[in-house]
């Protein structure tokens, strides 16, 4: 392994060095400063004679006398089942004073794309215990379903609630199927306080022993954030597809990841795309999100819940926009609902789960689930529309049916969505609340529900309805 003291230029997170051998693209580099500190980096561009290196820890302290070592391999993540219960930094080194990790394998962190032919279509319902998700935007194993939030919203609480409660109902009944559940938590640029909340919750609920935590905090080097999610997902793939775990990956906050991409792009003087983000951000994000899924013949699965804070709560911003085009839906956390005190403040209308239709129904959840969901969406949207109108003309000017839609919308928020971060509802309960609400509407307004189900579940009798009075 050759050492060079040939740094010619240092600019932002990048270092340019002259070399006299062929250096591979993406190869890992160690830079030793005059103070004896060792920094790690990665080759971003390799030409004959000169390479551009991105330094994860930042370039401060590097001078032209620093020595550069090329390790002759691309970035690897040491993986083993023993990672469960451990806390690592953003580059995968333990920071919990635990024993040394003896890797079983070292895997390339730039995961190869899963052959679409080898994938298995996700259709196993995950019960998160959150009605707004289970009932309206169901999550399935192998899905990538981001939470679109904005600063100051309780998206972390929601993510923790899902991590705590998520289960697959049939398997519980039949006993274990041999596959265990694991959570991998990747923090990118979140504050120490937020990180502590997650850690406390993990420790309090005993979830830590089935979790791997990667921490890149707000004051950690920004460039390191570009490798953290790849470390996380490499670990997830190993546990899922080699060891048979059902892995839930929580990545927070993707916005910070994208900021780091932009920083590197700017330092390389690349032609910027929208709002200064690099033109390849879509491809880059896809290489992360697409690492969710199931593979034929393998037991485990990787389910992703990335969290992103939309700058200015604007979902046309490049980060949520590109994310939405890659992920299989999204869950919106709504500041208005939050200020009304709803927990979780999920706005179901713009939220969506693309894989829902195949994950629900008879044998999976319940036969009336799809119809109930459609009807509730339609009725809630109707009620939402009418709210604007009421502000102008008042309730008296509306028809009886319109008033019922308004009541429905109110009850939907207070009974169905607002369940609290600690309540765990099973799907039966969620659907039963749904029917309570739908029974506020006259039968013939339920045009999306099969008549058979109306017969079976519609509550004719007022006394059967718990919700109506509360709503009035």
């Amino acid at each position: 392994m050759k050492e060079y003291q040939t740094i010619t230029e240092i600019s932002g997170p990048l270092v340019y060095a002259e070399v006299d051998e062929a250096i591979g693209y993406d190869e890992i580099v160690e830079i030793e400063t005059a103070q004896g500190e060792t920094l790690r980096g990665q080759v971003l561009e390799s030409s004959e004679g000169v390479v551009a290196i991105q330094v994860f820890e930042g370039t401060s302290g590097i001078d032209q006398n620093a020595s550069v070592r090329f390790l002759g391999e691309t970035m690897k993540m040491p993986v083993t089942e023993d990672l469960l219960g451990r806390v690592l930094d953003g580059s995968g080194r333990p920071i919990d004073d635990g024993p040394e990790i003896v890797p079983e394998e070292r895997q390339d962190i730039v995961g190869a794309a899963i052959n679409p032919y080898s994938r298995e279509y996700p259709e196993e319902f995950i019960e998160t215990g959150v009605s707004a998700i289970d009932g309206m935007n169901t999550l399935v194993r192998g899905q990538k379903l981001p939470i679109f939030s904005s600063s100051g919203q309780p998206h972390s609480e929601l993510a923790m609630q899902i991590a705590r409660q998520a289960s697959v109902p049939e398997e519980e009944e039949e006993g274990e199927d041999g596959s265990e559940f694991a959570v991998i938590f990747g923090a990118m640029g979140i504050t120490a306080e937020e990180a502590n909340e997650f850690m406390e919750d993990f420790e309090r609920t005993g979830a830590l022993e089935r979790s791997v935590v990667f921490m890149n905090l707000a004051d950690d080097p920004a460039v390191e954030r570009t490798v953290t999610p790849r470390m996380v997902l490499t670990t997830a793939e190993y546990l899922a597809f080699e060891k048979g775990y059902h892995v839930l990956v929580i990545l927070t906050d993707m916005t910070n990841y994208c900021e780091a991409l932009r920083e590197i792009g700017a330092a390389r003087e690349e032609v910027p795309g929208r709002r200064g983000y690099p033109g390849y951000m879509y491809t880059d994000l896809a290489q992360l999100y697409e690492r969710a899924g199931r593979i034929q013949g393998r037991d485990g699965s990787v389910t992703q819940i990335p969290i992103l804070t939309m700058p200015g709560d604007d979902d046309t911003h490049p980060i949520p926009d590109l994310t939405g085009y890659i992920t299989e839906g999204q869950i919106y956390v709504d500041p208005d609902l939050n200020s009304q005190g709803l927990q979780p403040p999920i706005n179901v209308l713009p939220s969506l789960s693309r894989l829902m239709d195949d994950g629900i129904g008879e044998g999976l959840t319940r036969e009336d689930h799809a119809d109930v969901k459609d009807q509730m969406f339609a009725a809630y949207a109707e009620g939402e529309d009418l709210r604007d109108l009421v502000n102008i003309v008042g309730r008296e000017a509306l028809s009886e049916l319109d008033n019922k839609y308004l009541d429905f919308a109110d009850a939907f928020e207070s009974e169905f969505v607002d369940q609290g971060f600690d309540q765990n509802r099973d799907i039966e309960e969620t659907l039963s609340i749904g029917w309570d609400l739908l029974s506020m509407l006259p039968k013939d307004a339920l045009n999306r529900i099969d008549e058979e189900f109306i017969e079976e579940y519609y509550r004719e009798d007022d006394s059967e309805r718990k919700v109506v009075e509360a709503a009035d």
Binding site: A22, I23, G24, Y25, D26, L44, E45, S46, S47, E48, T74, D108, V110, G111, A112, A113, I114, N115, P116, Y117, S118, R119, Y121, G142, E270, V271, G273, G279, Y280, Y282, T283, A286, Y289, E290, G293, Q296, R298, T316, P318, L322, G324, Y325, I326, E328, Q330, P350, L352, R354, L355, D357, D374, F377, A378, A381, L389, V393, A397, D402, D444, N447
Partner: protein, 592 residues
């Protein structure tokens, strides 16, 4: 994919990698022409020449380039990026450069796509039963069919004289032809000018296959989707764009078209799509029945899956791979429909490569040639008279994913300048789960007039009048809704309230269609028509009742009319509609 290991047209010289940056590699001393396919590095990653400057050649690489280093060799094949054409393309799934994904899985022995593995686009060893359709002594010209093989239960694959074997108008004699079992590379016929005709042809993807001329399309591509067939039809050989923000149902609409459109052949290009969605297609299509003949849908389908995490350069080429396959079946005289989901990802791939080349960007960073490339692609669609005298068509339906759902962005705008059908997806409709969420005010079809005669002959004489009635009611509703937003519905006069009620049935029963309901998912044009006449019947009876002095609340409160919403899910719809019409009339007449 093929670069014909056999042909050595130009003597080639190997080059040496000079620099690597993501998917863009530059090489020194490579003797290559533009768009030649090259193998890069020790692993032999496939790439294509995209720029030549002095002795530096720039290459876009179709595979991940981690670890590739300067100094490694670059080998030129001397051939442009081509596809293998022949039997076996149907019931297949390819990546963006026509590598069969099922074969790759076997070859790599892993569910992940490794690098540097290659496989021909069609099975070169499989034997097919060849049945000649010409005899020794017959004169044949370019493109002429010399025989058929049964490619799938649905499709007979026609073996054609390659279009470049003869000049236009020239003919030559068949000197030998035999029925029997052949693999795709063996000659099944010999021609007097020395050409051996085999089932296998190769064609450079960036070049359109020749045709005699383009004709005006006059038959609809019937999709079984009410809003499309009924209001905004596309012709066989037509072009359409489906723009919409994420979550508005582009992919579901594309899937519905791929399942139920009455084309002979479907080429489905998943360009930067989600892996799980492609898996859904792979799992669903073999099990779904072709509504035309009950055979598995895969028997008429060729899939190209270049998911969003697969290399960007292959995403740029997958659209061309798809349209070239489509053109080949068109040459046999088939009606082919190509779905590209999504052309925005394709445009973005162009942008990404362009920015790595440090080209001067045009609007929003897209290369200045974006409009030209889009136009070239859609121009390869059309209703053609083929070089062999048959007629065939390629319909191109491209999804567009505008950032933030803003239709003023360059890809949408440049697409709209070319395509003649526009299905605008609407996030508001999607939010209230009105699917397909195609906005009826913004969408249009410029084929309507030329397709009306077909619908009038095949379905009903007053097809276009009925459509116009529906459009008028929906237009009126849009105007009335603006007033309702201000003063509330009850402030409107009775007749306008009734119009809103009729429009509501149009929206809920007619325009909405449940893609996940076994019956409603496919609606033949006859049913589409009957549904419209039922709503019109309700309209007529209701207005008569109103004129007779029945209050609008009573009309709205009737019991029969809401059953209009259930027509969609009726299998025996003719009977149902007849009874329903009678009941609506009876009930409304009983009110006065």
């Amino acid at each position: 994919m093929s670069k014909a290991e056999s042909t050595e047209t130009t003597p080639t010289e190997d080059g040496v990698i000079q620099s690597v940056s993501g998917p863009v590699v530059s090489a020194r001393d490579l003797d290559a022409r533009m768009n030649d396919v090259v193998y890069v590095g020790d692993e032999g990653l496939m790439g294509e020449v995209i720029e030549i400057e002095g002795d530096i050649t720039t290459i876009q690489v179709y595979e991940e380039t981690s670890g590739v280093a300067p100094g490694e060799p670059v080998e030129n094949t001397g051939e442009p990026l081509s596809v293998d054409l022949g039997p076996g393309m149907l019931d297949s799934i390819y990546d963006g450069v026509q590598r069969p994904l099922d074969v790759l899985e076997g070859k790599m022995g892993s569910p992940y796509l490794d690098r540097g593995v290659d496989a021909p686009g069609i099975d070169l060893e499989k034997e097919w039963e060849f049945e000649p359709t010409v005899e020794v002594g017959d004169e044949v010209g370019r493109g002429d069919v010399v025989g058929v093989v049964e490619e799938t239960v649905t499709i007979d694959h026609k073996v054609m004289v390659p279009p470049d074997a003869l000049e236009a108008g020239e003919t030559t004699e068949v000197t030998a032809i035999e029925p029997g079992s052949f693999d795709v590379t063996e000659a099944v016929a010999e021609l007097a000018n020395g050409t051996d005709v085999s089932m296998h042809q190769e064609w450079p993807v960036r070049e359109a296959r020749p045709s005699e001329n383009k004709k005006t399309p006059r038959t609809p591509l019937v999709s079984g989707q009410r809003i499309l067939d009924g209001l905004f039809p596309i012709a066989k050989g037509g072009t359409a764009a489906i723009p919409g923000p994420f979550g508005s149902g582009k992919t579901v609409t594309q899937h519905q078209l791929a399942k139920y459109a009455d084309a002979d052949i479907i080429v489905y290009v998943g360009c930067g799509e989600r892996g799980n969605e492609m898996t859904e297609v792979i799992e669903d299509f073999p099990e779904l029945e072709d509504p035309a003949n009950g055979n598995p849908l895969m028997a008429r389908t060729s899939l190209i899956a270049n998911t969003s995490n697969m290399p960007v350069a292959a995403r740029e080429s997958c659209i061309y791979t798809g349209i070239t396959i489509a053109e080949f079946y068109r040459d046999m005289g088939y009606d082919v429909a190509l779905m590209a989901d999504s052309t925005s990802r394709w445009a973005e791939a162009m942008r990404e490569i362009s920015s790595r080349l440090e080209e001067m960007p045009g609007e929003e960073g897209y290369p200045a040639y974006l409009a030209a490339r889009l136009a070239q692609f859609y121009e390869r669609a059309g209703y053609f008279e083929n070089v062999n005298g048959t007629e065939g068509s390629v319909s191109a339906i491209g999804a567009v994913s505008p950032p933030g759902g803003d239709f003023s962005e360059p890809v949408t705008q440049n697409t709209l300048r070319i395509v003649k059908t526009f299905w605008a997806l609407d996030a508001d409709l999607a939010e209230r789960r009105h699917f397909p969420s195609i906005n009826w005010n913004e969408s249009y079809s410029l084929y309507k007039d030329q397709l009306d005669p077909w619908f009038e002959d095949e379905v009903a004489d007053d097809w276009s009048e009925k459509r116009q009635w529906a459009v008028d009611v929906l237009d009126e509703e849009t105007e009335l809704q603006e007033i309702v937003q201000l003063v509330g519905k009850d402030a409107l006069p009775d007749d306008q309230q009734l119009t809103l009620e009729v429009a509501r049935y149009l929206r809920e029963a007619y325009l909405q269609q449940n893609a996940f309901h076994p019956v409603d998912t496919y609606c033949p044009p006859e049913k589409t028509y009957l549904m419209l006449t039922t709503i019109e019947a309700f309209n007529d009876e209701a207005f008569k009742a109103l004129d007779a002095g029945v209050p609008v609340e009573e009309i709205v409160d009737t019991e029969a009319a809401p059953r209009i919403n259930r027509i969609g899910v009726q299998e025996e719809y003719e009977e149902y509609v007849e009874e329903l019409k009678a009941e609506i009339a009876e009930e409304l007449r009983s009110l006065y």
